[in-house]
Structures are given as structure tokens and as C-alpha cells.
């Protein structure tokens, strides 16, 4: 516009000249369109999956969800073994990751010396950056052989009276899948829990100290009870991640569409069956059925994520976008 040093002309007339307003308007619309791609993408994902699943939805109806037969040879499809596998492996992951993650978050906010907080947080963020396929590789060649020979045997010896820990041990199993997923959702559960704990007012802690509480009593009485709802939100967000986890689970869960009480038995998840069979689907109906599995997975994850966002939003103003 003006060369430096030269005095700007004194504006006359209306504050915004028409050509400039046009550029402003155009820029604003471009930005709006870019932001609206988000909404368009959600619509696109939903429509493509619904469209792909259509024939299967019409053919099998609601029974698809409860049917345990998955037989591409005779074109009979049911989603139950996969829904079961997804829910069980995610449940195992939550049982492991939530206590560990919350305890780590507590350690970081309440106990750790300030000096080592940042390095620990950094290490946990790095854990979040490890790709799923690398966890799978590590699971196959390191974690599973070790667990098969030691940890699973010990579990069977100690808790073998429970149906959960009976039956032959192959290594690849529902339990192995759950453990790998637990490792993968630990960073997000930890970091959201940390945000929540940091939002607990110090006044709460000081009041408990003033009453003569010990460090642990302060945490239990003042911090945890205050943060309970937010921690629940962190767990639900972790669940959302766990449900959709694909590669690492596919590599360690055994990929057999069975419903078994034993955690040592191989399982199969919605995401794994899509990953394994999508490019091999020979008939149209087979493909439609896989799309319907995708639709079930999408609906599950979106519902869980919306729930988590609603729970966290009221507390932290939506801190969840930051991690991964």
C-alpha cells in the first residue's frame, strides 16, 4: 500500500471502500467453507458407510447384530462375534489403563517433583506417537512370546478356577489384544486425567490439609471426589479410542470369530475383520456385510466420543482435541 515513511492519506468517505470489502468477504467465505468441510466430512463418512451397507441392512435386518454365523462361502453373515470381541478387548483395555492412567496422573500432579514432571509427560507423549503397526510388531515378537510362557501360565495357575482363565494358551488371544490396546490408550487417559486433576482448585487441597489430612487423604477426600466425573469422561474417551483400534489388535488377537468365555481364546474385532477381509471380499453381499460392520463400529465410536466430549466439555472446555 504505502511506502514506509510516507504519510497515509487521510481516509475520506465510508470507512471501508467497496473493493476491499469484497476481498474481506471472499476471504471470510473461503475460511467458512474450509471450516464447513468438517461437517461435510462427517456427512460423507456416514453416507458412504450407509450406502455401502444398504443391501446387507435390508437383507439381514436387525438380526445381523445378534447372529454369530460369519460364513462367506454360504453368504451368511452375523456381527455378534466381532461386536463381542470389540467390547471385551476394549473392556480389558479399560480395566488396565484407567487405574494406571489415573494413578500416573495423580503422581504427576500431586507427588512428582516439579523437575521431573516435564520429562515424564514428554515420555508419555512419545508413547502416544508410536504407530499402531509398531505396537503390533512388538506384540507378535516380544510381548506375546513372553506372556505365553510366563504371565499367562501364572494367571492360569493362580486364577484357573475362573472360567475367564481356563482353556489352552495359544499366546494370540483376547487378553493379548486387550493388553496391547491398554498400552495404546494409556497416554490419552493419563493426559486427560492430568488436565482434570489440574483443574481441581488448590483451595480444595488446602482445606483438607488444614483439617489435618495426610497427603493420601487429601487426594482421596478433596481431589478424587472432586474430579470423579472428569475422570469418568477420560475413561469414556479412552473407550472411544479402544473400540476403533485396528492394526495392533489385528496382529495379536488371533482373528477367529468365536465367542468364548476364556480370555486366552482367540477373538476378532470389528476393525480387524474389516482390515483382514475387505480386499478379499468376493461377493457383493460379503462387501456389504463388511460395510455394515464398519457402520456398527462408526456408530459405536461416535456415540462414545460424543458422550465423552459432553462430559469433558462442561469441565475443561474441551481439552480433548490436544492429544493425538
Amino acid at each position: 500500500m504505502n511506502a514506509p515513511g510516507e504519510a497515509a492519506p487521510i481516509p475520506t468517505g465510508p470507512p471501508l471502500a467497496p473493493p476491499r470489502r469484497l476481498a474481506d468477504l471472499a476471504f471470510r467465505w473461503i475460511a467458512l467453507l474450509a471450516a464447513l468441510t468438517i461437517v461435510a466430512l462427517i456427512g460423507l463418512v456416514g453416507w458412504e458407510l450407509y450406502h455401502g451397507a444398504g443391501p446387507a441392512v435390508r437383507r439381514f435386518g436387525i438380526a445381523f447384530l445378534g447372529n454369530s454365523t460369519w460364513d462367506p462361502v454360504t453368504d451368511r453373515y452375523g456381527a455378534w462375534p466381532f461386536i463381542f470381541g470389540t467390547l471385551v478387548s476394549s473392556a480389558i483395555a479399560l480395566v488396565i489403563a484407567v487405574p494406571l492412567g489415573v494413578a500416573t496422573a495423580l503422581y504427576l500432579t500431586e507427588f512428582a517433583p516439579v523437575r521431573i514432571r516435564q520429562p515424564v509427560i514428554m515420555i508419555i507423549e512419545m508413547l502416544a506417537a508410536v504407530p499402531s503397526v509398531i505396537f503390533g510388531l512388538w506384540g507378535i515378537f516380544v510381548l506375546i512370546p513372553w506372556m505365553r510362557d510366563h504371565f499367562f501360565r501364572w494367571l492360569q495357575g493362580a486364577f484357573g478356577f475362573l472360567p475367564l482363565f481356563q482353556g489352552p494358551i495359544y499366546g494370540v488371544s483376547m487378553l493379548a489384544g486387550g493388553i496391547i490396546v491398554a498400552i495404546m490408550i494409556l497416554p490419552i487417559v493419563t493426559s486427560i486425567s492430568r488436565e482434570i486433576l489440574r483443574s481441581v482448585p488448590d483451595l480444595q487441597r488446602e482445606a483438607a490439609y488444614a483439617l489435618g489430612a495426610t497427603h493420601w487423604e487429601v487426594i482421596r477426600v478433596a481431589v478424587l471426589s472432586y474430579a470423579r466425573r472428569g475422570i469418568f469422561g477420560a475413561a469414556v474417551l479412552g473407550l472411544g479410542r479402544a473400540l476403533g483400534e485396528t492394526m495392533a489388535v489385528t496382529m495379536v488377537i488371533g482373528n477367529r470369530p468365536e465367542v468364548s468365555a476364556s480370555l486366552f481364546a482367540p477373538g476378532y474385532t470389528l476393525a480387524s475383520v474389516i482390515a483382514n477381509e475387505f480386499t478379499e471380499a468376493t461377493s457383493d453381499l460379503y462387501l456389504n456385510a463388511l460395510f455394515e460392520l464398519g457402520l456398527v463400529l462408526l456408530i459405536l465410536t461416535v456415540l462414545v466420543n460424543v458422550l465423552a466430549q459432553l462430559m469433558l466439555r462442561t469441565i475443561t472446555g474441551g481439552a480433548s482435541g490436544k492429544v493425538n
Binding site: M1, A112, W138, L243
Partner: protein
């Protein structure tokens, strides 16, 4: 619960309570160590198994035919870089402009909904993106292609970049905008040359984080880029990528391929960790006012 804190605690009670507090502190420290352990174990095994397999051939040669020893992942390394470049072409403009809208325009209500939508989109499983892009591009083009793989990764990047861009733009002091507007600079120029310029490092950081995130994705590439044991002749042909090659080799029955899977994983992990370290270095200097 407050019953544990009685008004006149006996000496024994106090000792017990303090002891319990110590024990819980130790438990939490143990948990924190347990959470960090997998990273070190994975890194140890990657270096231990992968470093011995890394040689010049790994970076320069194509995969050998099934069962033959030797060969490398040159095509997969190039494939990953090509896919990332294509992802950036889609993810960066949409993500950054969307972030500009969220930070600079838009009413609070609309922005709340948009942010909510972006977070929901972030939560969609990556395998679902693969199916969507398969239906969108692979079916009409009648071939798996680098285009499809790049689009799948690019679409995943949009909400990531949008959220981080918005986060750094709102950190730019309001006074900068007011000063620029008071000088008679148009709103759009204020945003481009003042606001975005000031926050540029933060925006680039966000883009790098998003790239590092999608660089390791396998699931969205399975039915889009598909994988290819040779050099791709064009962007309209199937292309290999490091995660795809690692996946295929890890599940193969050959020891030599397992060895190469570890090597590939080491290269991929190094790529991602270096990006993360670069980001940390960039964001350390990110202070505005």
C-alpha cells in the same frame, strides 16, 4: 469419608495414616513407571532387532521376491514421503483456513458446534477412513492408487490441523489485530500478514504433529494405497508405504522378512520421533507477548 480424620487421633492412628500415605505414594510412582516402561521396551527392541538389519541395501533396493533373502524398502520409504506430501496438500489448506475461521470469525455458538464436530471427526477409527475413501476414489477410478492413499491421510489431517491452528491463533494478542485494523489494513490482510505470521511457528508445529501422526497409519492405506513391491509407475497406481510393508512382513512366515520388518519399524519410528523432537524445539520459542 472424613470419618478417617477423627478429632483426637491416637498416636498409633497417626502413624498408620502416615504409613498409608507413603504406601500410596509408592504405588503411584510404580504406576507411573509402568506406564513409561512400554516406550522403553519398544524402543529397546526396535534398536536391538532393527539396527543390525539396517544397511545400505535397505534404503536403495526393492523387496526381493517371496522367500529370497535380502532386498530393501526403498519403494516404501519413497511411497510414505509421497503419501505424506499429498496428505499435506489436502490437510494443510483446509485445516489452516478452518482454524482461521474458528479463531477469527464465527459466532461462539457456531464455533462450539464446529469444534465439537472436529473432535468427533478425530475420534472416527482410521479403518473407517479407509473404507470411505475406497468407496469415494478406488471404486470410480477402478484401481488402488497413491491418490486414494494420500486423500485418506489428508482427510484425517484436516480436523487435527484445524484444532491446533485455532489454538495458536487465539494466543496472538488482541492488540496486534487492533493495531493493524487501526492502521487501515483490511481484515483479511491483518489476518494473513499479522496474525498468521505471528503464529506461524505454532501452525507449522501443528502441521508437523499431524503429519507425524498420519505417517504411522496403516489401516486407512490397506484398501487405498494397497501396497506395491515395485516402484509405482504413476500416482494412479498402487503404492507402498512403510507401515504397509511392516505389516505385510511382520505377518509373513520368513525370518528375513521379520528382520526387515524390524528395520522398517526402526526407520518409521526414527522419522516420527525426530519430527516430534523438532516440534518440541520449535514450540519452545513460541511466546508472543
Amino acid at each position: 469419608m472424613p470419618a478417617a480424620i477423627s478429632v483426637h487421633p491416637s498416636r498409633g492412628q497417626q502413624v498408620w495414616r502416615r504409613f498409608k500415605s507413603r504406601v500410596m505414594a509408592a504405588v503411584m510412582l510404580t504406576c507411573a513407571l509402568a506406564v513409561m516402561a512400554p516406550l522403553f521396551l519398544v524402543l529397546y527392541n526396535l534398536v536391538h532387532e532393527g539396527a543390525t538389519s539396517l544397511d545400505w541395501h535397505f534404503f536403495t533396493q526393492l523387496p526381493k521376491p517371496t522367500g529370497e533373502v535380502g532386498g530393501g524398502m526403498a519403494n516404501a520409504i519413497v511411497g510414505t514421503l509421497v503419501l505424506l506430501a499429498m496428505a499435506a496438500v489436502i490437510g494443510v489448506p483446509f485445516g489452516v483456513m478452518g482454524g482461521v475461521y474458528l479463531a477469527e470469525y464465527g459466532s461462539d455458538r457456531v464455533n462450539d458446534w464446529l469444534r465439537f464436530a472436529a473432535d468427533v471427526l478425530n475420534g472416527i477409527p482410521s479403518i473407517v477412513w479407509g473404507m470411505v475413501v475406497w468407496a469415494l476414489l478406488v471404486v470410480p477410478l477402478k484401481t488402488f492408487s497413491a491418490y486414494a492413499g494420500g486423500v485418506a491421510l489428508g482427510l484425517m489431517m484436516i480436523p487435527l490441523v484445524m484444532r491446533t491452528t485455532e489454538e495458536v491463533l487465539v494466543l496472538v494478542p488482541q492488540g496486534y489485530r487492533e493495531a493493524a485494523l487501526a492502521l487501515g489494513i483490511a481484515r483479511w490482510r491483518t489476518i494473513v500478514v499479522i496474525v498468521v505470521r505471528t503464529a506461524l511457528k505454532g501452525i507449522i508445529t501443528g502441521i508437523l504433529v499431524a503429519l507425524a501422526r498420519v505417517a504411522g497409519e496403516t489401516a486407512p492405506l490397506l484398501f487405498t494405497a494397497l501396497g506395491n513391491n515395485f516402484w509405482a509407475r504413476s500416482l494412479a497406481a498402487p503404492v507402498s508405504a512403510l507401515p504397509l510393508q511392516i505389516y505385510a512382513y511382520a505377518l509373513s512366515p520368513y525370518d528375513d522378512w521379520h528382520r526387515q520388518a524390524w528395520a522398517g519399524a526402526l526407520v518409521l519410528m526414527a522419522l516420527i520421533l525426530l519430527t516430534n523432537i523438532l516440534v518440541r524445539f520449535l514450540s519452545r520459542e513460541r511466546r508472543f507477548a
